[in-house]
């Protein structure tokens, strides 16, 4: 496919004013309102349909949603758990944003985060044997680099195929998801398996200095969440304040005009893919270095998928994605509580997610119409 399809990024609200302090004219305020009202509306519709499904399962929707909320934000531990789950989702969503803004349909975040985890693990294990006395100030950046590079490299294969041979990146990246998951399985059952793990599929612990610090003592909250927010800010800066980001957005919005203006379109596409994979790789790194300190089989309960959905809900804007990721982290965390309380499957959450996105997608044309 050489021609990009209709771009969901086409009807987005403008980012925050470039020079600051400039009065928003009436029509722009209206556009922004619609841009944020739609996902909210979608949320309401989705929760409404969820309520119907809950009722069909014999559960009281109000009780269920209450349990959901409490499970997500009701106690200090619950909030921490929500933050922990939101972290990899945020990383992935940032990566997806980067790619989608360039009209590159990277659906391979799940695979890229797995390979990023592998990269971080290898870095952590290598440092353990080669440089055991490395201080954290050096070890952690190396972990970050490992995760980013491996994720980016993995994505670059799909990028090359797209740029050189016009191979559809949706299918290649999805196929690579399966391969990556199997690969991690292979590693944790095989070459990387820790002999001290009693036959369980996990690697040895990485270097202690390479482990991300815990933010709250004796809890699961780790530095990763800070890194993710920093990454969000960085992605915002890159996309709207740098020449690279400008190129990427131009190519994503109108590749023909970009070409006429002298922008190197294939190169922008490739870079977008690689950075996107790198960010997803950081999600994997964050789980390895911050949470488990080792590589585990099946460490991701579908963060790649969730991150993709979050990116679309956040309308591909890095700052809007932060609350969206939090919302999702909360949904996943609270789902367990809800499931226990009202005896209903946690998959209702996935349905709610999906409905929200479809709503956002379907209503894009409404926004276009209203904008004239």
């Amino acid at each position: 496919m050489t021609t990009p399809p209709a771009n969901p990024a086409a009807a987005l609200p403008e980012p925050l004013s470039v020079a600051g302090g400039v009065k928003l004219p009436w029509h722009r305020a209206r556009t922004s309102l619609i841009g944020f009202a739609l996902p909210l509306g979608g949320l309401l519709v989705a929760f409404g349909i969820g309520a119907i499904m809950l009722a069909a399962s014999g559960a009281n929707p109000l009780v269920a949603y209450q349990a959901l909320f409490k499970g997500a934000f009701g106690s200090r531990n619950n909030i921490i758990e929500t933050l922990v789950k939101s972290t990899p989702i945020l990383f992935v969503a940032l990566g997806v944003t980067f790619a989608f803004r360039c009209s590159v349909w990277n659906i391979g975040s799940e695979g890229q985060l797995h390979i990023g985890a592998v990269g971080a693990t290898l870095a952590g294990l290598a440092m353990k044997s080669l440089t055991p006395n490395l201080p954290p100030i050096l070890a952690i950046p190396i972990m970050i680099l490992g995760g980013f590079l491996f994720g980016g490299l993995y994505a670059s294969f799909a990028g090359v195929l797209k740029v050189k041979w016009e191979v559809n990146e949706v299918i290649t990246t999805i196929m690579m998801n399966f391969v990556a998951i199997l690969f991690v399985q292979y590693l944790t059952f095989g070459p990387l398996r820790d002999p001290a793990a009693n036959g369980l599929p996990m690697s040895a612990y990485i270097l202690e200095a390479a482990q991300l610090a815990r933010l709250v003592a004796r809890s699961r909250l780790h530095l990763g969440v800070v890194l993710a927010v920093v990454a969000a800010v960085l992605v915002y800066i890159v996309l709207w304040k740098t020449t690279l980001g400008y190129q990427i957005r131009a190519v994503g919005a109108n590749p023909r005009a970009a070409k006429h203006a002298g922008i190197n379109v294939p190169r922008s596409v490739f870079v977008a893919m690689v950075i996107s994979g790198g960010l997803a790789g950081l999600a994997g790194m964050s789980e390895v270095a911050g949470l488990h300190y080792r590589l585990l089989d099946s460490f991701s309960p579908g963060y790649g998928q969730a991150g993709t959905v979050v990116a679309l809900l956040g309308n591909l804007h890095p700052i809007a994605i932060i609350p969206a990721a939090l919302l999702f982290g909360g949904l996943i965390t609270g789902a367990d509580t809800m499931a226990r309380t009202v005896q209903v499957s946690t998959t209702i959450i996935t349905v709610i997610q999906g409905i929200m996105v479809l709503f956002v997608l379907g209503s894009q044309f409404l926004v276009d119409k209203l904008e004239g």
């Binding site: 496919m1 021609t3 399809p5 209709a6 771009n7 969901p8 499904m53 069909a56 399962s57 349909w105 659906i107 195929l161 041979w165 016009e166 191979v167 559809n168 949706v170 299918i171 290649t172 999805i174 196929m175 690579m176 399966f178 391969v179 199997l182 690969f183 399985q185 292979y186 059952f189 095989g190 998928q305 993709t308 959905v309 679309l312 209903v344 499957s345 998959t347 209702i348 959450i349 996935t350 349905v351 997610q353 999906g354 409905i355 996105v357 479809l358 997608l361 379907g362 894009q364 044309f365």
Partner: protein, 318 residues
Amino acid sequence: MTIWEILPQLFQGTVFIGLLAATVRMATPLLIAGLGQIFAQSSGVLDLSVEGLMLVGAFFGFVGAFYTGNLWAGVLSGMIAAAVVSLLMAFLTVTLRASQMIVGVMLVIMLAGLITFFNKLIFGTGYIPPSTEGFQPLHFPVLSDLPFVGPVLFQQNLLVYIAFLLAPVVAVIMYRTTFGLQIRAVGEYPRAADSVGINVFKTQYFAILIGGLFAGLGGAFLTLGWTGLYTDIISAGRGWLAIALVFFGKWNPYRLAMGAILFGFVNALQLRMQVMAGQQVAYQIMSMLPYLLCIIVLTMVSRKAGGPANLCIAYKRE
């Protein structure tokens, strides 16, 4: 045992016959779903929700058969359920002109959750999944007893035969009927089709619906024609493979069938190796084969381009 020791064993005697028979079986869902997608893609719509549609077909096919005791009722319910979802896909992409890529992927995500939800709702959370008797292998008077060819070709169940018979049927429809000509015109040059009075939107709706029906049938096969039960991972990427196979077959039903058989073989091979390898760890690498093959196959085809010129572009009447 290493791979190199297992491999030769697979090509001997009865094991090999079993392998080939399995190949035909495993090619079937890919073939069915792929044939349906030939319609959708030829009309210019890249329907990426096939994976989800097959899940829907698998689940509702199972449910239908389980509760009515009638296998054909099951097949029908699977097909209809998938067709309904396709209608949604058609509405979003043809009428509202939303991004075909994203709608397809999101539908898969949503459907996966939805089906799991319905599964728990209807069948509860027991450890042993409910099962039903699926289609039994047929027996032809002389043919089934032939050595070698018998078990491979003539002891399959009815759905398998339907699938392989559908290939020439689809070929006839696409290449010898006015409907097929219309679909292909819409996918190639919708403006030209519009100019001779063809309703582009209606044609695309139909094509997508047919794709849905077929995907539903392919999904129903997974439960009713093969395993007899429904599990969450029953489709394991087959929907995506089917889409890739359409490219690989260059939108031609016969080449698609060849591709389906190729992938069916790789699938069957890899499963058997897993069984024989037992605790051997390397089986994950084998499991990667179908997916890697898919990427390689897509690259080979894309280099020569080709295919409906208007694929994935939403049509707008100027």
